[in-house]
Subunit: 197 residues, 2 copies
């Protein structure tokens, strides 16, 4: 998605070979017009999948997920994070390790909002090691719902997350795919020509 | 806002005289079309205030705030919560007690995204005791920015939050104002006739 790549080029900050900060438009300050375009793009890419629900993770996944939900006309559920899980009935949950923050959170969703009749699109802001997306997929499977695929705003393709998800047979659609962050510069994976027109 | 009041009547659950659960459309599962209408309504109510930024609090404030930001064409910043504040440079922060969860969080925003030239609309999902909104107002004041007002999705008007904010001279616009939750029933404060047409 060229608009997003341009935004990353101009407003993203490369902190080191592994870390890209996008807190000026996605993770802390949010650009609503960009989120609107991102929502449209997710809706277009998954339009043939019969999606009935979108699942994301608080907090940075919410803005792109709600915009996608608006265009797909389906509800959005955000999983909540908590440091330690007090066992609560009626929760679907999974354990997710964040390498960035070096902490493990339980993430959970009420079982009221997902059933085996649902087809779920999982949306998240970043895909790096894949921990969050794998945890969300685990939660959706616990409900018996079908997974339509994973929609990612920014994929760090030099980290193993995308491959782990594809190994599970999941369709991954990342709107920006970063090949490398070396020398303080963002290099994108070239997308197929038809997507650039 | 009649659409919102109807949604609260049909999908909200009154747990006791103080607690209204709206996790089927606002706090856990989100109704994107309703959020879109809520965003439009905030934009209309604050259209004359010269708003340059919207500030909200993760996680439940993000969806209505981003929709408002889309219609007002301004960036949205969400304050982050953390249990204990490790003192970090460049953060504007305040202490916020949640009576519902009986815990105190530090909430913070990077000082990069607010300046004294900004006019800020604060948006939050619920207004009860006013702790979150007061904390957000404190953060905005630390930056030197002007506060245009407070936009609230659901106000529990029988609790003191709205009055506390108005005592500080702040304009409060709540889209649904609940007079009481007694007998398991939601009673709204009647709005002026012209708003009902």
């Amino acid at each position: 998605m060229l608009l997003l790549e341009e935004k990353i080029k101009t407003a993203g900050r490369v902190l080191n070979d592994n870390v890209l900060k996008v807190d000026s438009f996605l993770n802390h300050q949010i650009d609503p017009k960009l989120m609107n375009e991102i929502g449209k793009e997710f809706a277009a890419r998954f339009s043939q999948e019969g999606v009935t629900k979108i699942v994301t993770l608080e907090s940075s996944g919410i803005a792109p997920a709600v915009m996608a939900g608006l265009y797909m006309n389906v509800p959005v559920i955000f999983a909540r994070k908590r440091k330690s899980l007090t066992l609560v009935d009626n929760l679907l949950s999974a354990s997710v390790h964040s390498f960035t923050k070096n902490e493990t959170n339980e993430i959970s969703i009420s079982n009221k909002y997902l059933t085996q009749d649902d087809t779920v699109l999982i949306i998240d802001d970043f895909l790096a090691n894949g921990e969050a997306a794998l945890g969300l997929a685990e939660i959706v499977r616990q409900s018996g719902a079908k997974i339509a695929g994973i929609g990612i705003v920014i994929e760090k393709s030099f980290q193993p997350g995308a491959d782990k998800l594809k190994e599970q047979g999941l369709r991954v659609e990342s709107l920006a795919r970063i090949a490398s962050l070396t020398n303080g510069e963002v290099t994108f994976i070239k997308e197929k020509v038809e997507e650039l027109i």
